[in-house]
């Protein structure tokens, strides 16, 4: 019983990485209507940048995270401003293909710059140690990840619902032309949203640096998980992405414990069933 409860908490911390990456993917799809295959690669880039500043150069943990967000945002801006922007008018298949081209470029660029797999850097001292949870030691760092995920969720919710900027973005998402007509600078909103999405992906990658191996295959693995989540929650639905992350995170934590053979297939089965039965997602209004 305790094992089950503990595994639930482990799943919760897993869910938060997934939430950060799928939040960015969801926002970009919701506003721009683009499925960004390169989103996993942005996650990976964030991880590599944070690793470089924190693990290799030994800079301050928070500074490393900030710099990795900034670096990834710049890459995201270039992708949107100079490439994606010219493809909003054509078939969406080409947008998919373009972002896939970026996957190939970024995966190999990361290999060229950083080489293969790295050792994991130490956890910052103030986040070291364990807390007893259900009679077992639970890493403080995992609790920190859970807190970070919740904080990001609240900030995003407040930002979209309660600020002028958030209203502008929502207006653009629901009707581009009308937003344009009332004086919203739509291209600038698109760039901003894409950069925000890229930064969320980078945050997920950066926070994972001290606990998970950073390797060139990371992007391809993460993007598929993020797709599963955004589909379960409904494409473009932020609240759905949060609940979807919880489902997938907790389910894979229990899955590895209870039925390791079919855990992986089960997640894709859920994705397919949701697409067939409720393509708008489980949490659509």
């Amino acid at each position: 019983m305790e094992t089950l409860a503990f595994q639930g908490v482990v799943g919760l911390s897993m869910a938060m990485y997934l939430w950060l990456i799928s939040a960015g993917l969801t926002i970009i799809f919701g506003v721009l209507g683009v499925i960004n295959f390169a989103h996993g690669s942005l996650f990976m880039l964030g991880a590599y940048l944070a690793f470089t500043f924190y693990g290799l150069l030994g800079w301050n943990f928070w500074l490393a995270i900030l710099l990795s967000l900034a670096g990834t945002a710049v890459v995201g801006w270039v992708m949107e401003r100079f490439f994606l922007r010219y493809l909003y008018g054509v078939d969406e298949a080409y947008q998919l293909l373009l972002t896939f081209g970026f996957v190939l470029i970024m995966d190999d660029a990361v290999k060229m710059i950083w080489g293969g797999v790295f050792r994991i850097p130490d956890i910052p001292t103030f986040l070291e140690g364990h807390w007893p949870v259900f009679g077992r030691p639970f890493p403080v760092y995992n609790a920190f990840i859970i807190a970070a995920g919740i904080v990001v969720g609240i900030v995003l919710w407040l930002g979209f619902e309660r600020t002028w900027w958030g209203r502008t973005v929502r207006a653009t998402a629901s009707d581009r032309e009308m937003a344009n007509a009332i004086g919203v600078n739509v291209p600038r909103v698109f760039s901003g949203v894409f950069m925000l999405g890229a930064m969320l992906a980078a945050l997920g990658g950066a926070l994972g640096t001290p606990v998970r191996v950073v390797s060139p295959g990371l992007g391809a693995a993460m993007i598929i998980q993020a797709f599963v989540i955004t589909v379960i929650g409904g494409l473009g639905n932020l609240k759905g992405a949060f609940v979807g992350s919880l489902i997938v995170g907790v389910l894979s934590a229990y899955g590895t414990l209870l039925f390791p053979v079919f855990e992986l297939a089960l997640i894709y089965l859920i994705m397919a069933v949701v697409l067939l039965v409720r393509p708008q997602g489980l949490f659509a209004r």
Partner: protein
Amino acid sequence: MDVGPVASAGRPRILTPGRSAIGGLILALLLLPLVGGQYAQYVAIQVLILSLFALGFNILFGYTGLLSFGQAGFYAVGAYGCAKLLLLKPSLLFGVIGGTLLAGAAALVLGVLCIRHTRIYFSMLTLAFGMMIFSMALKWRDFTGGDDGLVGIPRAPLEIPGLVSVSMASMGRYYYFVLVVSLLAIGIAYRLVHSPLGLTFQGILDSEGRMAFTGVSVRAYRLIAFVIAGLYAGLAGALLPALENTVTPPVAHWTTSADPVLATLLGGIQAFAGPIVGAFLFFMIKDIIVRFTEYWLIWLGIIVVVLVMGFRGGVVSLATARWRALRPGREGT
């Protein structure tokens, strides 16, 4: 003044430039083992396999407008199916035909579900099913060998009971087998695309609503296209085990699904020959770039980005446009 009809009315031209080019190409492919070594044959087989894979994908994407990101699933069913059958009974035709049919059956079952959607939802659904097949290849150890895959698959002889039995031990012989199978499959695809069936596919792509008004069951035709794509992916996969003697889970991964997509994009989506030309270019680019650097994917990525940004018709439509521009127009002279 238009003199075109008069000029061509004399006698039917059997040897058009297009036909002689295809004839020359087939001749070159037949002669390849005489000039090229083991490696050239090996690469040529891979080009042919990717051609078939991409050709099927393009019947779904280019002619019917459905972008599948799960074709690797059917490719893997063909590969694993053929491998299993070859381990059971070492007969090449048995394995290849069996693997292809298994992939077709999988495409029929999953297709019924997938064609309920179009556009992004279709792409996501095919991705989900493709990755489900990948997870099974990876985790169902008893049947698929898990991580290690299936090993020690024989390159079985080509047997037709009571008729012939040809050993396939040498690379050259297997090359000829793959070449003949590929030419047959490409010929069949060409007939299909230029038949009423192919025109119906294009009609659905151009105007789904109007095709439905004329009494065409759009869903049924989408399913047919899906099964054809699955059969071609399965055939491509089924040619793999005898070449490599092993089948491993990465053949089913979604990144493998991207190969036919890239080949088709390189060659051209709107042209029949696009995927074939693209498959050739795909391996040429790889072969040339890996001589200079191991990071060839970054260059492929850059080429993809350039193609998507500027040349969405691909190389074939670029070449035909050039050709038409160079040739003096009939009305001009």
